[in-house]
Every structure is written in C-alpha cells, then in structure tokens.
C-alpha cells in the first residue's frame, strides 16, 4: 500500500532511532555496530538532554592513532563539569580578592570557571568491566580531547590544575536512562561539595 509522500507514517520512529538508522554509523570495521550505536545514543543524550556542544566521535587514539577499544566521544559541557578541590580553593580566594577590590556592599562571590572539553566513555549497564579494560581506555587517551579540525586554533588556555587523565563514564540502562560518573586515572581526592 502506498502512502502519499506528504503524509506521515502512523507511528513515527523516535529521534534516536532515526539518528541511528540514518546511516550515521561509520564504516569503521574496528568497532562493532552495537558499540557505535551506543556511542550515538550517548551523544544524542548529551546533546539534547544535557545541552553539550562540540560533540565528536573518536575511533582512533589521539596518541597512537591505533583504534580505540571502543568508539569514544568528546564534548563541551554547558558549565564546568569538574573542579578539583585545590583549584576550587584557589578560585574562591581569587573571587574573594576581586570582591574586596570592588568594595561594594552586598556584593556576592563571583567564581569564574570556564567549561572544559571532556572525554566520554559510553557503556551499557549490562556490560562487565575489568580494571584491565579501563586502564587500556585511559592509556589511549590524551589529557585533553584534541581540538576539532574546524577550530584548529584553541584559544582556551590549558588549565594547570588538570594533571590527571579523566573521563566521564556514561552508563546507559535498558530504559535509555544514561548516568554519568567522573573517573580519574589515579588517586584523586574528592570534591567537597
């Protein structure tokens, strides 16, 4: 049965389904299609649910150019996602000095943090992981995701506090919930929220 071209189908596919079906899967033989669609799902979630920008899919390591253990994402969150506790102390001190310099009554602390690019590791909740696999992912990562080709000149100064590799572990449940955890490569003291 044919349908007039201007008529919608009875049941629309979800935006995510159409994104995956639209042939966005890269023809990289190094990774399973399931992992690629997982990366797309997480990318979709970050872009539309958490307002991230500059999201890019990585299939090879920026360090060695070898294929990554699985496709990874990089992106820019709308706000700074992680502030190291020592950096936080420093930022608060700076903000306090500036407030005193302005010397206005009732002035509030104005802490300035710029958003930083983050690595994202897409995973499924049903997966099993080992320390070995996690270490392999970290070994393939650079400290900061490489700048996009279009914006080759990254005017952002490197953050001197970013001294250990970190990534955002995105875990997708079967009901399409995605949770995000920051994983550091090494012993990093916790934030005092």
């Amino acid at each position: 049965m044919t349908r007039p071209p201007d008529m919608k189908p009875a049941v629309l596919p979800s935006p995510l389904q159409s994104l995956v079906a639209a042939g966005n899967l890269q023809s990289s033989a190094a990774h399973l299609p399931s992992l690629q669609s997982l990366a797309l799902q997480v990318q979709h979630n970050l872009q539309y649910q958490h307002a991230w920008s500059d999201l890019r899919l990585h299939t090879t390591s920026p360090l060695t150019n070898e294929p990554l253990p699985r496709p990874l994402l990089s992106g820019l969150p709308p706000h700074r996602l992680y502030v190291h506790p020592d950096e936080q102390i420093e930022l608060l001190k700076t903000a306090d000095r500036e407030r005193k310099a302005r010397n206005k009554q009732g002035d509030t602390l104005d802490v300035k943090t710029e958003a930083e690019h983050e690595w994202i590791l897409p995973t499924r909740l049903s997966e099993k992981w080992t320390l070995h696999r996690l270490a392999d992912v970290f070994d393939a990562l650079s400290m900061v995701p490489p700048a996009a080709d279009s914006a080759a000149t990254d005017d952002r100064p490197a953050n001197p506090w970013r001294t250990t590799k970190r990534l955002v572990l995105a875990t997708a449940g079967s009901d399409s919930t995605v949770v995000y955890y920051i994983v550091h490569d090494g012993v990093v003291k916790p934030r005092q929220n």
Binding site: T123, R124, K128, W129, L131, A135, Y181, V187
Partner: protein, 323 residues
Amino acid sequence: MATVAEPFPISHIAGRYLLFDVDAISHARRNHNICGVLIGTIPNLSQQNVFLGIPVELMPEEARVLVEQNHAYIVDDAEAHRKGFMEMSREDRLKYLQDMDEQGIELAMSAKKSAAARSEKALKDKGLVRAEVPESNSRAMSETAASPASTSTPDTTSAVANTDEEISLFGPTPSPQAPVARSDKKPEAHYITPTTSYPPLSQPVIDKTLQLPAVPRSFPLFRYMHSQGYFSMPGLRFGCNYTIYPGDTLRYHSHFLGTGMDWDQEFDLLDIVGGGRLGTGVKKAYLIGGEDTGVAGKSKHGQNDSSADIYPVRAFSIEWAGM
C-alpha cells in the same frame, strides 16, 4: 610512652591478629599508620561495648604490611604458651610463684592501709575524732601508717575508735580502754591472677617458618595506599573493602571508599554506579584498584621469596558527575 623495639610481636590467636601491648599499639599507629580496631571488653560485662580497650585486632592486611616491612613478626601464641610454660624450669616457676605471693602481700597491705585512712577521714569529717581517741590508739594508728610491715597494729583500732565516739555522744567518756594485744601476723595475701604472659615468659622468638598472613585479593590496593601514607580502616560501613583516610583517623574524614580487585576480575557497572553515588553522597570518592599484572613486576624485598612478585598498582577514583 615506652619505646618499642622492632620487630614487635603480633599474636596470632584463632585466626586473629592481635596486639596486647599499649606501647606497640601506639607505636604502630604513630609510626606505621596502622590503626586496627580495639576489641577488648569487660569479660563479664561484654554487653557494655561502647568503649572498647585492648587488645587491638589488626586486619590480616595490616599484619601483613607490618611483617613484610620487618616492623613486626607473627607469633603463634597458643603454641608459644604451651611451649613456654611446659618447658619452664622449676627454679623459674618457684621464683615466679614467689613473686606473685610478694605482690599479693603488697596488695593486701596497701588495701588495709587505704581502708584505715578512709575510716579516719570519715571520722574526721564527722568532727568526732582525735580528742576521744585514746592516746595509745592514735599513736598506734600513726605507726601503722608509717611502717605497716614492721609494727603490730591492733586489727580492732577502728572498731575501738567507733565505740569510743558513740559513747562520747551520749555520755561521759569512760576510762581509756586498755590497749588490745596486737597480732603479729601479716595480712592474708591477695591471690593475683596474672594478666600478662610476657613476663613470666621471655619475649617469643621469631619463627621464620610461619607463613605471611593470608590476605584477600584486595590487599594490593591496601598496600599501595598504605605506602602513599594513607590510613585505612575496615570498610563494611560503606560497603567497600577499606575506608581510606589522608591522615590519622581521629583527625580526618576519610577520602576514599576503596575496593580492591584483580587486574582481570570482572565487575558490574552497577557496582561502580552504586559505589560512586554512595561515595559522593558522603563526600568521598569511590576508589577501585589492583595490581597491573601485565607489567613486569619486581621481586619482593625481604626474606620471604616464596610469595608472589609485587606489581605496580593502578587505581581509579570515581565521583558522580552531577548530571
């Protein structure tokens, strides 16, 4: 605080690693970042367990770290006692018994002395003393206080004083009582239950044939964090292997909930999510780590060549991203 000679003994009793010496306990805590858990309670009031005392029970990991670094050694305490007391010479045994007797007599003397002082004080508080106490009796009491062993105080001194005062309350003072004959025998010795085994036994010898303490697979993470100067406590409260503190556990809040595992041991991502979320909720980071067995390990220092090599440990800290 007395200094502790290293290596100090760790008693291995019924599968537990225990420290009975207060000096050794504070030494391990101060110098080796080993806290252990106080488990001692009053034997017949064991439900009063809010404040526990010695002994300190060490985790097998703690005992192992101390032994590996030659700060301590393990003593099979049951065997050491059996051997030590069965093979004790007759002279030593008699000397020990005599020591105990002397201590018992000393104890009885001081108990008696303090009882006398107490009753005198009670009398003084009532304002009834001295004047009514017959001269001879008061002198006798002061003699008792000065040199209890040499004199022959009447056992009835206080009783006499009491009757004197009661009478004085209600009537004229009768003529002073004649001094009572004094008994020359020493007070009955208290029986002492010895609470230490070293002495009478001499310090146990180091038994090199004893195995290192058996440790769970989370041990490499413990050793790594210990080598970085962190303090660790058991982690059951937070559903992990260790709660890890940046300094003494009485001064700092803990920073990490540590779970150690093998390099290729599989774990559920739900554990990471749960641990990370719990840790962030209590202002800590969830720490997973283990030995990277893929890298060439260096062979263990020390005398125990039989055990496995030490590999570098890799750890990952996990926090909730807040989104």
